[in-house]
Subunit: 277 residues, 2 copies
């Protein structure tokens, strides 16, 4: 049965998409059958991999959008989520986003089971994958909530900056709400430090603060009781900002750069971790 | 009469707050009477300057929040916006944010003149200042729209990354809509490049793309017809990420670092620019 991980942080530009694509690519290269779900109307996972965001004009299911909006049986005819899947790379599949997806939060607002749409949609294809990674938009709206309800684990990419720490509490409270009301299985796996300036004291202090916070949460009845700062931190590396403009993963663009090394190591960490209780 | 500039970009973490605080501080140090307006429920300008976000419990006007929600005459009694102003530094005043401001978008949604609340609120105090800089949240919602309706100029901080370019079109269309429907005086002054990795080819290519786009817009009937990529780009400098944790501007924290130099130069650029037509 797969590990389903939502990558969320309502702050923008913190490395969610870069982590989903690069970690996903690393897991695929290690032989894991990996599915990426692009839940963001910006369609950056889709763009990063060089896939055309599939704008539907004939109503054919083409993207996460259709899965989320489609009326489940018995009101609508079932659609096969496999029809939306694009084979992006070897072992790396993608349910792409389309940029109309922005309207979706309004369209879904009154739908029955509006928080469970993604969970229902992927129920039948879960068994085909070892890892399902969900890229969330920078908000705590309906798209992110669908990601959190569909997932078992949450990973939060964030920067090792003072202002980034200010938002963590609110993030964790959202996860707690979801775990209490909609998805009791949901737990926080941890934080990925993205764009890490490894030689600065500031970054080290922020990391120490975060680790201290998680250590103090052990044994509490909270969904982050087993959360960690994941290793390694992902160092700032211009190759990671460049490769999306070529529609390439960092491993295709520069397999020996720091970005490739760090994400390969992070994949290794994920593969060797004990399961969350 | 003051220059009123909104700093907007719906993408998160691109340097809006850092630019408002650092540019504001630079202008104040050059002797300009400068007012900063913190429109973001994250209250990061307020935090950065070491000001307590003023949570009101007795209804006394204390923050941008109260200005925006207050019923203007004749329905409500007029409140003096000066009552919300905090003197943060010499020549540097602040209308702080409070973190309940997040609810404001819902509260304001049905209010009369809901896009003009900020413009009305600052009408009487404009003459006290040379510069009014408005920090917008990372969204195109009601708070940002209030910022755009109150302003004469828009500056967009952004990163010199491929993915950052993808959002520029939408940003400019929003400004165009506002200038057509709500604020005909609104024009785009330009882009501030934040967290600029000056030695990489990628950054240079992104800057060239942006400049080419603006050059091609000269003479068109669009609010960015006179927009530029402002100089200098603001180099990535860890001091800019560190100083907020001490409640200090970068000039107080390290007056000779690259961050201080670049923002001082940017202030100089703003002071010597010809007015927008
Ligand atoms: N380790 C890194 N080194 C250098 N640049 C990076 C790194 N990680 C991400 N970037 C760049 O920083 C920018 C923001 O990253 P990314 O798009 O992954 O963040 P995000 O959290 O998904 O943003 P959004 O909230 O807009 O979805 C992108 O231009 C990306 O290419
Ligand atoms: N030139 C720079 N060099 C290094 N760090 C920077 C620089 N500019 C900003 N930062 C840091 O990057 C992070 C994001 O910057 P900032 O908060 O100014 O962006 P923002 O656009 O206001 O974000 P938000 O959308 O959340 O309001 C902060 O931690 C800030 O301290
Ligand atoms: Mg993203
Ligand atoms: Mg900000």
């Amino acid at each position: 049965s797969p590990r389903i991980i939502a990558f969320m942080n309502q702050k923008g530009g913190v490395g969610k998409t870069t982590t989903v694509v690069s970690l996903g690519a690393a897991l695929a290269r290690a032989g894991c059958r990996t599915l990426l779900i692009d839940l963001d109307p910006q369609a950056h996972v889709t763009l990063h991999l060089g896939v055309e965001p599939s704008v539907s004009d004939d109503g054919t299911p083409r993207a996460a959008y259709h899965l989320l909006l489609h009326e489940p049986a018995p009101y609508g005819s079932p659609i096969d989520p496999r029809a939306t899947i694009v084979h992006a790379r070897k072992h790396l599949a993608l349910i792409p986003a389309i940029t109309d997806q922005a309207a979706i939060e309004t369209e879904l607002a009154d739908a029955p089971h509006r928080h469970q749409r993604l969970a229902h949609a992927i129920a039948s294809l879960r068994k085909d994958y070892d890892f399902i990674l969900i890229d969330c938009p920078p908000s705590l709206g309906l798209l992110t909530l669908n990601g959190l309800v569909a997932a078992q684990e949450v990973i939060m990419p964030m920067q090792s900056h003072f202002l980034a720490l200010q938002g963590v509490g609110k993030l964790l409270e959202t996860v707690r709400l979801i775990s209490q009301q909609l998805n009791p299985a949901l737990q926080v796996r941890g934080v990925v430090l993205a764009m890490h300036d490894e030689h600065t004291n500031h970054a080290k202090e922020v990391v120490a603060d975060l680790r201290g916070f998680f250590d103090a949460s052990r044994g509490r009845a909270v969904p982050w009781a087993h959360a960690e700062v994941l290793n390694p931190p992902i160092r700032r590396n211009i190759k990671l900002a460049e490769c999306p403009s070529f529609g390439q993963t960092v491993f295709e663009y520069d397999p020996t750069c720091a970005g490739s090394n760090d994400y390969a190591e992070l994949a290794e960490e994920l593969l060797t971790q004990p399961p969350l209780p």
